[in-house]
């Protein structure tokens, strides 16, 4: 089965609301990206240097990052040569294939590490305003819908209104929030939350933390301490450390991923705000350079606006029109 057929069958297997939602959220992303791709293919008949330069620009325009893009272009050039592709139309599937492969590098598991027998503890980390608290709210909702008992820990004791914000989500979703006063030690909140969640027999504990810029050494140390306290109480916890990245962020997201990974051994990424026009191309760079899998995507501010990340879906979303065009041509 060719790549597109595989992609297609995968898509038709999943013609449920999930896929629709994902596609809907990605409409903007896809439109502009595919538009550019189409323009590109209309403009250039043959795959030449100029063509690759243009392609490079499109990918850089998607925040994929200069070095990743260069690498990708080199790969493409080589593959195109190897497969003797000269017509720019025929290179579209190759681009798609290589992108998807990069996102699903070494077939890493993009599913969450959920404990079957014990309580699952998930720690959320990231810079200011990326969507940590909101993602926790959405996740609490999704776990609850699976019938799980969820507790949220208000570990952001610093930002004005942070505890209240999580409280609102707690009410909205109908789950308990463990909190202390503003200004208290976040590690102490985590300790409390673990005891409390345990006594409630919770299945999942979602830990919010204050946003912090990765270059603040003291704040990163504080975060290490928070994680240490969790691990001390439950040896293999946190079971996931999710770094929340804002799709609107440019190259700094790489530095964020790097530093947070060093401090807290990030296990996955939640990529938020993909419902905007930002293309989230940084996912490619992060995957390529740091090998951290994207596990979730945020597609809005609502309680349901979150989906598990699917590399093929993601790429399909970006190139939907191209893929369809290709199919039509194949039929003729």
């Amino acid at each position: 089965m060719g790549f597109f057929e595989k992609l297609k069958s995968k898509m038709t297997e999943q013609t449920d609301a999930v896929t629709e939602k994902f596609k809907e959220g990605l409409t903007k992303t896809r439109d502009s990206f595919a538009e550019q791709m189409n323009e590109l293919f209309a403009q250039y008949r043959t795959v030449d240097e100029e063509f690759f330069e243009e392609l490079e620009e499109i990918l850089i325009g998607a925040d994929a990052g200069v070095s990743t893009v260069m690498e990708l272009i080199d790969e493409l050039k080589e593959e195109a040569k190897r497969r003797n592709i000269k017509d720019s139309k025929n290179i579209a599937p190759l681009i798609t294939e290589i992108l998807a492969e990069k996102l699903d590098k070494s077939g890493q598991d993009t599913a969450l590490n959920i404990q079957e027998k014990d309580m699952t503890v998930i720690l959320f980390v990231g810079v200011n305003g990326v969507g940590k608290t909101t993602t926790i709210g959405k996740m609490a909702h999704s776990f609850k819908q699976e019938g799980k008992t969820v507790v949220m820990a208000a570990g952001d004791t610093f930002r004005a209104g942070a505890i209240e914000q999580l409280d609102v989500w707690g009410d909205r979703v109908g789950v308990d929030v463990v909190k202390q006063q503003a200004g208290s030690d976040p590690a102490a909140v985590m300790y409390d939350a673990i005891q409390s969640a345990r006594s409630k027999g919770a299945d999942v504990l979602l830990c919010d933390t204050a946003g912090r810029l990765q270059n603040k050494v003291n704040l990163m140390k504080e975060l290490e301490k928070v994680k240490r306290v969790i691990s001390r109480e439950i040896p293999d916890a946190p079971h996931e450390v999710l770094l929340v990245l804002d799709a609107t962020t440019g190259q700094n997201a790489m530095s964020q991923a790097k530093t947070f990974q060093e401090a807290t051994e990030v296990t996955g990424i939640a990529l938020t705000k993909l419902d905007g026009t930002a293309k989230g191309g940084i996912v490619l760079a992060v995957r390529n350079e740091l090998d951290i899998p994207v596990k979730l995507v945020g597609l809005g501010e609502g309680i349901d606006d979150m989906q598990p990340f699917e590399a093929e879906q993601f790429v399909y979303g970006l190139f939907k029109e191209l893929v369809e065009e290709q199919e039509k041509e194949n039929l003729n």
């Binding site: 810079v127 603040k216 440019g250 790489m254």
Partner: protein, 449 residues
């Protein structure tokens, strides 16, 4: 991270050119490639980069660079000039209406920093202009947005106008202006909900607010870490609202902040302020020329010195500045600096204000605040002679110092190393690298000779 400043990038190009004496058109092309990459890595939008590079190239090919004996300096000079021009002059004035209250509305994407910035601007207006602001809670969507603003209002001891989250933002804005009139507040700062520029309904709502209260100032709040999309966001907000200025937040991070350039290029409005921390006082006047060198990775020495100045008395600040420039720091200065730095915030944060200022050297001098006491003890155990001549330190001296300060020899060694690194870095930042001793006047770029 492949995150070098333009100076380092170009240096490599020149090393290759060395000995050829003359700059060819191909060389210029290669230089422009480096300029392009440096700007792209700094998150300047690629279309903006293209235009920019073309402008620089024109000047480079015609005369200035190719005929110069120091093409490197020339390229940087041209780039810097073009960039500074694009960034515009310093314009961090907030409008003042003929008749109070002046209405200021803040808008932007989700999480950009609007609510925090409302509090910061309010604080600024009171502190520097003796104004009496009223904060208006017109974000009725985000969970606890009103609580957040009210908490900030309490911290500031300033009134916050709110009608809960069941009233329309238009009515809230109108109500706030009314109340400001009654209570003789001279500014109304309207916090609005974060929204996507493509969200027609919510953008329409902002237009209605604008219609209803006719703000004197509409400020677009932009996260400094924004990537390529900054162009779309700024363009779209500007088109739909006619913004009068921008505020760049989270500049205390280590992002290059190329978004600043994109925002300027597509809106033409001035960037008025920079958010440099989470705390209410952490708002800076925006300095275009510093932003230009930050984007190019040239460090931000001037900001650092200014930060020192606001916290340290003038005389001492001048001395500090001089010492930093000349890099003949002694341990006494180091100690004094530590004390001053304590009043300013963590030293590593200060150092981080110098993006691109040799990250490697910087890593070793990150000072953990809890360690400052120990560092102090070590320095205090040194003799006057040792403090002034760190190079005479030998094993027996170190042993004595360790004992005297209740630390270990490793601690002493680490401090000496940090001190040397710091001196080295300052030398590099202040242009001492290439043998030039004291950079008089303007800042010397590491690259210039």
């Amino acid at each position: 991270m492949a995150f070098e400043g333009l100076a380092e990038r170009l240096q490599a190009t020149f090393d290759k050119m060395k000995g050829r004496g003359k700059v060819s058109e191909a060389d210029v092309k290669e230089m422009m490639r480096e300029v392009r990459l440096a700007l792209l890595e700094a998150d300047v939008n690629f279309k903006v980069v293209k235009k920019f590079v073309n402008r620089v190239k024109e000047r480079a090919v015609g005369q200035e660079v190719m005929k110069s004996l120091t093409p490197g300096q020339q390229v940087i000079k041209v780039v810097n000039e073009e960039l500074t021009e694009l960034m515009g002059g310093e314009q961090s004035k907030i409008a003042a209406a003929q008749k109070a209250p002046t209405v200021v509305m803040l808008a932007g994407l989700q999480g950009a920093g609007k609510t925090t910035t409302v509090a910061k601007v309010a604080n600024y207006l009171r502190k520097h202009h003796n104004r009496k602001p009223l904060l208006a809670a017109a974000d009725v969507y985000r969970p606890a947005a009103i609580d957040q603003l009210e908490t900030l209002g309490k911290q500031l001891n300033m009134p916050v106008f709110s009608l809960g989250d069941q009233t329309s933002p238009v009515d809230i804005a109108k109500g706030a202006v009314e109340q400001a009139k009654e209570e003789h507040c001279d500014y109304v700062l309207i916090d609005t909900a974060g929204r996507l520029h493509i969200d027609e309904e919510l953008m329409g709502e902002l237009q209605e607010v604008k219609e209803a209260v006719q703000p004197d100032e509409i400020l677009l709040v932009v996260d400094a870490m924004t990537g390529q999309d900054a162009v779309n966001v700024a363009e779209s907000f500007h088109e739909q609202l006619g913004v009068t200025g921008a505020i760049l937040t989270k500049l205390d991070g280590d992002t290059r902040g190329g978004a600043a350039l994109s925002v300027r290029e597509v809106t033409g409005v001035p960037i008025k302020f920079a958010g440099v921390g989470e705390k209410i006082a952490e708002l800076d006047v925006f300095h275009p020329e510093r932003m230009a060198s930050r984007i190019l990775g040239m460090g931000d020495m001037l900001s650092l010195i200014e930060k020192a100045q606001t916290n340290v008395d003038d005389e001492r600040a001048k001395q500090l500045e001089k010492k930093m420039r000349s890099a003949d720091l002694t341990f006494d200065d180091f100690l004094e600096q530590l004390e001053q730095v304590r009043n300013m915030g963590p030293l590593d944060e200060l150092l981080q204000m110098m993006p691109g200022a040799n990250k490697k050297a910087m890593k070793n001098i990150q000072v953990d605040e809890s360690q400052i006491g120990r560092v102090e003890a070590i320095v205090r155990s040194m003799t006057k002679h040792e403090k002034e001549n760190p190079s005479i330190m030998n094993a027996s001296r170190k042993r004595r110092i360790a004992k005297g300060s209740g630390t270990t020899i490793q601690d002493v060694n680490r401090l000496l190393k940090q001190f040397e690194d710091m001196k080295k870095m300052m030398k590099q930042m202040t242009g001492g690298q290439k043998g030039k001793k004291k950079g008089k006047g303007g800042m010397q770029l590491p690259f210039m000779q």
